[in-house]
């Protein structure tokens, strides 16, 4: 893609600047505020001037054609990539200079486009890794098997079972994660992310490879998770039924730039978005 054409396009596109935070969150400080976020890979501006505000309990969608930079945005938010420009405020705190692990402790958890479970470990162990930070004993009491090791280990296991029960997966606790069917692996990845006690959950194509009935169930579950844990969810998804069905605010990305923001209805009737997906009408 040549640089000139993209720059030209960016100027043409008016970005609606109105906030898309749902009404119930309007009085509360937003969980995430990105301003002018951008990253260059060599000469390529993968993401540029990305602004996004997410409310406390909002379910937001990030959509766009393939290669638009959606996963790059996730990688910027989790500091897998260090942003070249811009700031990210998580719950009002600047995340500049934080490591990926610290970002997780601050409250962002994510899943991956291509499942990245610890596939040789059991389902239970995958969740326990997520609960890692909460278990309060140190290595010494683990080796010496001090009482607080057993207590904290027991509490963690109870929490893990509780989490598994969200998706009715308690029976699979001792199964090796890699042996689970595809849909169950996707669900486990969400649970593992939830185990780290996030305030913002990033889901990278959670419905990829799911059939319509599994997708419908997933939609219910995402809403259920939001309601149970009172957290915000930002999801990347190509399944428009899912996005239009549960996302309260939608951001459309094309060639690394936001081309539209708004509610499902607004996005669906936005000519720029239609053009980005389908090409210009002759």
């Amino acid at each position: 893609m040549n640089e000139k054409k993209r720059m030209g396009k960016a100027k043409m596109v008016p970005v609606p600047s109105k906030a898309i935070i749902p009404e119930r969150d309007i009085d509360k400080a937003p969980i995430l505020e990105c301003s002018h976020l951008g990253i260059d890979f060599g000469g390529l501006r993968a993401v540029d001037d990305f602004n996004l505000t997410i409310g406390r309990t909002e379910i937001a969608g990030l959509i766009g054609p393939n290669g638009a930079g959606k996963t790059t945005v996730f990688n910027l938010l989790t500091k897998v990539y260090q942003p070249t420009r811009g700031t990210i405020l998580l719950d009002g705190v600047d995340t500049a200079g934080k490591t990926t692990a610290q970002i997780n402790h601050m409250g962002i958890a994510r899943t991956f486009q291509n499942i990245r479970l610890f596939s040789n470990m059991t389902v239970m162990e995958n969740i326990l890794v997520g609960l890692h930070e909460e278990m309060s004993y140190n290595a010494l009491s683990g080796i010496l098997r001090l009482p607080n090791f057993f207590r904290s280990e027991r509490i963690a296991r109870e929490r893990a079972i509780e989490l598994l029960s969200i998706f009715n997966m308690e029976d699979t606790a001792d199964a090796v994660a890699g042996s689970l069917p595809y849909g169950a692996q996707r669900r486990l990845e969400i649970l593992r992310a939830l185990a780290t006690n996030p305030s913002l959950l990033l889901l990278d194509e959670p419905a990829a490879g799911m059939n319509p009935s599994e997708t419908a169930e997933l939609m219910e579950n995402i809403v259920k998770i939001r309601d149970t844990f009172n957290i915000a969810v930002l999801l990347i998804e190509h399944d428009m039924n899912l996005v239009m069905g549960i996302c309260e605010g939608i951001v459309v990305l094309n060639f690394g730039q936001v081309i539209a923001k708004g509610t499902a209805e607004e996005i669906q009737s936005n000519p720029t978005v239609i053009e980005a997906y389908l090409g210009k009408q002759q």
């Binding site: 989790t78 897998v80 490591t99 990926t100 692990a101 997780n104 402790h105 958890a109 994510r110 991956f112 990245r116 479970l117 610890f118 596939s119 040789n120 470990m121 162990e125 326990l128 890794v129 997520g130 890692h132 930070e133 278990m135 004993y137 290595a139 683990g142 080796i143 090791f149 280990e153 593992r192 992310a193 185990a195 780290t196």
Partner: protein, 292 residues
């Protein structure tokens, strides 16, 4: 009867290899690098114990603990100074650095303690009943085998059950995902080096107790043999290191006894080559087919 004697000596030697191999295999499993300086940490452990016993006159158990502490610190420092800055670099750069660290340690030891071999006094002070001694079982051999079994059990439990152990396995499978689950990967790798180096100190003391010649190159051959043992058993696998170490020790001992003392090492490595030809991932290594 003679066979039994050689077998015992093989198991004892193999136990030392196994303890060293655990260090190689853990570091490889988690940091995906071959720490060729591991063998020389053994030598440092031996020297520290020697000094504590002979110059400071400390009791054996204190000397061993001191050696473990010094080696643990040494391992963490080596990792922090030499390997950590190369985390993003190619594996060849890390490998060459590890060889450099190995030579550095050998030469530093020669500078500090001199090149003359020291006569190591065994840390094991009790003797066995005459009946056991007559079949070739020495108190050193017994302690070595026991230590190996205890370490093996403790380490397996630690890796499978504890929080840090789970973090280690998570890092070994997918560092990126582990990081995103809030695991501090750098700290986990440091801890792995700490544990591996503490084990190296124990191995150094046990090795020198059975074979009491201590010099700056003491660690290099057992180091390479233990690395072989780790590959033999399937590098990255803890039980693999144990089995690989034992088998290697037994093969070496029996080859020395029945074939040729001078050819023993060649035989050991020939067996490795054959095993790897038949099973390229080692005895317990997992074959990971690449997705295309």
């Amino acid at each position: 009867m003679v066979f039994f004697t050689y077998l015992i000596s093989g198991i004892s030697l193999g136990s030392v290899y196994a303890i060293i191999a655990l260090g190689y295999t853990m570091v490889y499993g988690i940091a995906k690098m071959l720490n060729f300086a591991h063998g020389d940490v053994i030598m440092v452990g031996g020297y520290i114990c020697y000094i504590a016993l002979n110059s400071l006159g400390l009791p054996a158990i204190v000397a061993v603990i001191l050696a473990m502490i010094v080696c643990t610190v040494l391992g963490v420092v080596i990792e922090g100074l030499a390997y950590k800055p190369l985390r993003q670099a190619g594996s060849l750069a890390v490998l060459i650095t590890a060889i450099g660290v190995s030579y550095f340690l050998q030469n530093a030891a020669q500078l500090i303690w001199g090149a003359t071999p020291k006569n190591f006094t065994s840390v094991v002070h009790f003797s066995l009943p005459a009946g056991l001694m007559s079949v070739g079982l020495s108190s050193e051999a017994l302690i070595t085998v026991l230590a190996c079994i205890v370490i093996m059990i403790a380490l397996t439990t630690f890796v499978n059950r504890s929080k840090l152990g789970k973090a280690m396995r998570a890092c070994s499978e997918d560092k990126g995902a582990a990081q995103l689950m809030g695991i501090n990967v750098n700290r986990t790798i440091s801890m792995t080096f700490a544990i591996g180096s503490a084990l190296a100190a124990i191995a150094g003391v046990l090795l020198c107790s059975s074979y009491p010649v201590l010099q700056p190159t003491t660690g290099s051959m057992p180091g390479i043999k233990a690395f072989t043992a780790a590959v033999f058993g399937g590098i990255g696998s803890i039980p693999g290191a144990f089995i690989g170490g034992l088998l290697l020790g037994i093969i070496e001992s029996l080859a020395k006894a029945y074939i040729s003392t001078t050819l023993a090492n060649s035989i050991v490595f020939a067996v490795l080559i054959i095993i790897l030809l038949v099973k390229p991932t080692g005895l317990l290594g997992k074959y990971a087919p690449e997705k295309v």
